[in-house]
Structure formats: C-alpha cells, structure tokens
Symmetry: C2
C-alpha cells in the first residue's frame, strides 16, 4: 500500500467542511420554509449532507489524518462566503442552494478527475444528487409564474452569489497550501480556461432552466 496522497487529505477536508456547512445552511433555510411539508423536505435534505460528511470523515481517518484538522484550513473562507450571502427569505435561500451548490459540485467534480479510482468515486458519490436542484428549480419557477418581477430580483441575487463565491474561491485556494491547484494541474492536458468555460456554461444553463437571466 502506497503512502496517502498529501493533496487527497486536503481535498477531503474541503469536501467534509462543505458538507457540514451545507447541513447547517439547509437546516437554517428550513426555518424559512412557508409550510411544514417544505420544511420537512429541506430538513431531510440537510440530514443527507451529514451522512455524506460521515463517509468523508471516515475516509480521512482511514488515511491516518484527523477530520477536524483537515477541515480547519477552509473554515474561514467558507464561513465568510456564507456570512456575506445570508438569504433574507425562502426564495433567496433556495436560489442560493440551487446556484451555489451546483457551481461548487461542478468544481469538485473537475478536481476529483485528478484522483485515483476509489477516492474519485467517493467524492462523486457525496456530491449533491439532483433531487435538491429539481426541488429548488421548481420553487423558483413557480414563484416567477406567480409574480414575474421575482425573476429580476432573484437573477440579481444569483449574480451576487457567484461574485462572492469567486472572491472567496481565491481565499480557499490560498488556504489549502496549493494542494487543490496541484490536483487540477495533475490532470493530463488540463486547460484551465476551458475548465472555467465549462463551469460558466453549466451555470448559465441552470439559470435558464430555473427561469432566471444570466
């Protein structure tokens, strides 16, 4: 058995902390839900994030590292993103989850391509399933149908989310001591501009699917 990949523990730490925060945010968003069925639905999605956290934390432990230590470098940058994008209401909350989770999932999927078999699969497994994205897009479309002006407000909100995410991404990259960028660079023939183009295209397609303007 070869020594654990040093970049791997860093990446798993980032994913684990992302899951803890996703749990936290979905649980808080559940309080904004307009009725009990939607509140329960969001609470159940939050619980799924914690199951994913456990898988990742167990893998970090199996690699001989401590989950809390692996997560610590990312606490500040990810918390700053969430603090600067606190949703004011239910629609802002679902838009934030719809836009933000998808971009970060796409990004992690790209990074995971630089890993070997089982760890690559582990990360793909914990990325959000499409269930929440469908739920969120349905909520957003229904709100726009009921009140077309909502599209404008939520589109502006989504742009602000992406802007904040990009500005914090720089801090995440600084926090991880180069491990993530090394993982990206390790992929054969990596083309960073093309990577960002793929992320941007996918984001644009999602905005359109939910009835929002890019």
């Amino acid at each position: 058995m070869s020594a654990p990949d040093p970049a791997l523990v860093d990446l798993l730490g980032l994913v684990a902390y992302g899951e803890l925060l996703a749990f936290d945010r979905l649980a808080a968003d559940a309080r904004l839900a307009p009725d009990l069925p939607r509140r329960a639905a969001l609470s159940e999605m939050a619980a799924a994030e914690i199951a994913h956290y456990r898988w990742i934390a167990d893998r970090i432990t199996a690699l001989g590292a401590r989950p809390d230590e692996a997560m610590t470098p990312y606490v500040e940058a990810l918390q700053a993103y969430h603090d600067s994008t606190e949703p004011k209401d239910w629609l802002e909350a679902v838009t934030k989850a719809y836009v933000g989770d998808a971009v970060s999932d796409d990004f992690l999927r790209e990074i995971a391509d630089g890993l070997d078999g089982p760890d690559r699969q582990l990360i793909l497994d914990v990325l959000h399933d499409s269930r929440y994205a469908e739920f969120a897009a349905t909520e957003i479309r229904a709100a726009i149908e009921a009140e077309p002006r909502v599209a404008n407000r939520l589109s502006m909100w989504a742009r602000r989310l992406v802007g904040e995410a990009l500005s914090q991404a720089g801090r995440v990259a600084a926090a991880d001591r180069g491990a993530l960028t090394a993982l990206i660079a390790r992929r054969e023939g990596v083309d960073v501009p093309a990577l960002f183009r793929r992320l941007t295209d996918a984001h644009t397609a999602r905005m359109t699917a939910a009835g929002l303007n890019n």
Copy 2:
C-alpha cells in the same frame, strides 16, 4: 383491519413535530459548539432525528392522514417553548437538550403504553437513544469540574426549562383536542399523580448524574 385509532394520529403528529423541532434545535446548537468535532457530533445527532421523523410521517400517511395536518395543532405550543428558552451559549444548549428531551421522552413513553403493539414500538424506537444524554452529561460535568460556579448557573437554567415546559404542556394538552389525555386515561389503573411522581423522580436523578442541583 380495524379503523385507525383517532388518538393515534394525534399522538404521532405530536411526536413527528417534536422530531422536526429537535432536528432544528440540534442543528442550531451545533453552531454554538466550541470546536469542529463537537459541531459534527451534534450535526449527526440532528440528522438522526430526521430519520425518526420520516418513520413517523410514513406511519401517519399509511394510516390515511397527512403528516402536516397531524402536526399543525402542536406547532404553536412547541414553538413557544423553544422561543422562550433560547440558549445563550453551548452549555445552556446541551443542558436544554439533556433536561428537556429526557422529560418529554419519559412522558411520551408513558403515553405510548396506552397504544397497541406496533405503534407503541414505533414510538419507543424514535425516542432519543442514550447517546446524546451521555454526551450532554459529560459536557456538563466537565464544565463544572473546570469551573464549579457553572453548576449554579446551569441548575437555575434547568429549573427555568422545566417551568417553561410545564406551562407549555398545558397548551399542548389543549391543542390536541383531548386525544392525548384520553390515551393516558385509557391505560388500566392509570394513576396520574404517580405518573408525575415518576417523571419528577427521573428528572431529579438525571440532574444529580450531571452534577446539577434540583
């Protein structure tokens, strides 16, 4: 197959909403945790409550009722209890969970004794396992050991919690249109003063076990 017990849906609605609220409260308490391992531990306990919520909600649906409608009568009284007992810090949060969950579990266990086999078992299954109580008692004892004056502050807090719980219990009893009291009364040879004595004795023993004064 006989018609569903009318009191049963009411009781399951109360338990289901209690689970949703327990999730919500544990998730919020996790933010007060002093470090990432304790934050993760609390988040995982919150997720367990949601799994229990799902079991109860599925049973309500199988009985031909709607979970949200079964929960609605209890929303106001249970929310009022939590709003009036918002923890100011981590130790108040764990004390609240330690004291409050145990009293309500004991109470539900007594009510469940009035039910038939499978539903009785379902309710006993979703009551909190001892894992959280042990975690909370350990936290409280360690805090008292580090700073003996903490015992006084948390004991007063626990007394306030019990007082608020009793005053909201009257509203719960009013909300459920008599179904829960009917379930209690249905038990053969029920002795209400003895029931309250059992609840009080168990509460006193738990306070002592955590190093608190009654």
